[in-house]
Symmetry: C2
Subunit: 415 residues, 2 copies
């Protein structure tokens, strides 16, 4: 089963926005056993949209279209779809009620352009958009499915999860696939592959293993293809157990979540708290943790100590240590992480100090040199890393590595 | 002049990576007067790649292709291009020397697969990739240009900036366009449009104005089309002056930079320092500032004070204030921002405290309620905002708004 994604609108073509919708949709489709053949971004142009839909329909069974559903005259997706299917337009009462309800809630007058949001091609089945005024639309013709959705991410996501994916599963005889993700941190793809080579070789034929590497983490995704759900789930559980036992402390989670969430869940379960002392990451680690809902049950806060003075004042780092060993040194990172533990009264702390670049490097400490410290009452561990010469990558790499180091300490029995 | 972008590789189609390359390329092309007609992501499949290139060449004059140039057997872009142009392969000596140099630098043996990176279609002109082993390739056929580049962002960016764009400008009679961007913050697109309506109406015909809104900021982009560079630059400068005078303190910069960079530049020029006290943004504002190279000349550091205790300890917020007025209140944000100013000895400070969601809202203080404080020695300004109900958007919106508030204060004469 093949799908194509078409995004309509000039914002992507002029580079004003990055198309993150399509990646999300592709993930969802792949997880449901639908392979994405092509993703195309086209302009708000009638002929161009018609061509793109026709080309996609020649390659795929499902064509998912986003964008071009706003109330302005640029937005021509609906009328172009009517032209494609050679049908007229109808006014959909449920959509009109939805639009009226949304306008009433915000005390805004309902203008003609807004009423026209309820006009849809005659042959479509409306997918009610509870989060916005533009309706989703489902078309079925010659055994192919066409779906039109708004380009606003949360509206599209809601429609996909609640309506489109279930309808696709009901409409097509999709392969039944179950997934299990193992999140690992701190080891490269080839190293992991070597460690689990024999397990991978002995996987039963209905189980596939994929490596999905991303900046210091690798996701191992097991996919089970078959009809007997119970049997497939048992098989997945068995292989997951084998892999996690083999990979030991490299494993951060056995579900598809980011590393920061895995840490928050583990620490919340154990009623542990965390604080941070960030220098070269400049608040990025705090940002990762606090992007997760409910972070406050674990994360108490942190210091972004960019200057020497801040390292002394907020973390109690010794002035002599700074001036004698430098801000990027084992001694400093140890004092930083122990200072955070003490001053911020948390069970665990992370400290990082390094040279993110592009300036500030020296022959002894080139750009990319980073010291990471993790600590709890009975133990402090400090390690030196040398990453690359790109500032943003150094920041991201340091953050992931520091979380990996914390995870290892979390797993060690308390003395 | 029309271009199309084709990205090759399964990573985008399975949703593993988001295609940010294409947005960047589209920006560069648009700035050079080349309109992007379509962006397509296709799989590592010979027939599919051939079809995609053929379709693109029927619509556009320039076809930019990224990806599929690695050393593994999945990477078939080069041989497929040779098939498309009906030519054989040749070994390029300059590329081979480059590959050998890179392997020597890392003390790695040069394997057969690596040597084959120097094989390219016979009809191509090699664009030497100084940042990696995969060469860029330039093809010219029937008046159309085809360019193949690696998908690794910094390799592609370097090739585009240093080689591809200059060659495109030399090969085609491109419209001459000059741009001037005005970055505004704190006002919506329609409000700005109303304020400058008369200036916009009187723009000379060779000057176009575009509104590029994004999360609390709006970029006004003036584009001048013409042959006489000096005259066009004068016209741009004149219109920029009119617009910035009219828009006053809304204007953050007259170049195309992010708001945080505009603030850092302004403060660096005035030798001012900045500290932060972040609660609901959880380090995100610090992260924005510290993502900019050289941030340390202005930014001394900050507190991410998630808990009551951290607000008291790091910022000296009064325990009574917290318990009587709550963490999200005018009183608290004032004490936070003045505490930052005092404890971190900076000239300016920003403090934010709010309810990012999804939990923690009350009828009086719903999710999205945020207090923002900005301060310097002679003045503290605190304002309340009510944003939406999405955590990530609330964090981002708060950060941009707080920077906008700081900018206003930076512009006020010191008492």
């Amino acid at each position: 089963m093949l799908a194509e994604i078409i995004t309509i609108g000039d914002e992507i073509l002029i580079g004003q926005i990055i198309d993150s919708n399509s990646a999300w949709m592709a993930q969802q489709l792949n997880a449901a056993g639908i392979r994405v053949k092509q993703i195309s971004s086209v302009s708000d142009n009638r002929k161009h949209i018609l061509t793109a839909i026709k080309e996609a329909s020649e390659r795929a069974d499902v064509i998912l279209i986003t964008g071009g559903l706003g109330p302005t005259k640029d937005d021509i997706t609906k009328t172009t779809l009517a032209e494609y299917f050679k049908v007229g337009m109808k006014r959909d009462q449920e959509t009109l009620d939805n639009v009226a309800r949304i306008f009433a809630r915000f005390n805004r007058p309902l203008l003609d352009v807004n009423i026209r949001q309820a006009d849809v091609p005659e042959n479509c089945e409306v997918l009610l958009n509870k989060n916005g005024t533009a309706p989703g639309m489902w078309f079925q013709e010659n055994g192919k499915v066409y779906v039109s959705m708004p380009g606003v991410p949360h509206e599209m996501m809601y429609l996909m999860e609640d309506l489109v994916l279930p309808k696709l599963k009901a409409s097509f005889n999709l392969p039944k696939i179950w997934h299990q993700t193992i999140l690992t941190v701190g080891e490269g793809e080839s190293f992991l592959a070597e460690r689990i080579a024999d397990i991978e070789d002995q996987l039963p034929p209905q189980i596939k293993l994929a490596y999905l590497p991303k900046l210091g983490t690798v996701r191992l995704r097991l996919s089970a293809y078959g009809d007997d759900e119970e049997k497939m789930q048992q098989e997945l559980a068995l292989q997951t157990k084998k892999l996690t036992e083999r990979l030991g402390s490299t494993v951060a989670a056995t579900e598809d979540i980011p590393l920061e969430k895995a840490i928050l869940l583990l620490m919340a379960k154990n009623k542990q708290t965390l604080s941070l002392a960030e220098s070269c990451t400049g608040g990025y680690i705090a940002h990762l943790f606090t992007s997760q809902p409910g972070a406050s049950s674990v994360f108490v806060g942190g210091a972004v100590s960019y200057s020497y003075e801040m390292k002394e004042k907020m973390l109690g780092v010794n002035s002599d240590t700074l001036w004698e060993t430098g801000a990027v040194s084992e001694e400093t990172v140890r004092e930083m992480v122990e200072g955070a533990l003490r001053n911020f009264s948390s069970d665990y702390a992370i400290a990082v100090t390094g040279i993110a670049g592009p300036d500030g490097g020296t022959p002894e400490k080139p750009v990319g040199t980073v010291w990471i410290g993790v600590a709890r009452k009975d133990k402090t561990i400090a390690k030196k890393y040398v990453f690359g010469n790109k500032r943003i990558q150094n920041i991201e790499r340091t953050a992931i590595t520091a979380m990996g180091d914390l995870l290892k300490l979390l797993r060690e029995p308390i003395a």
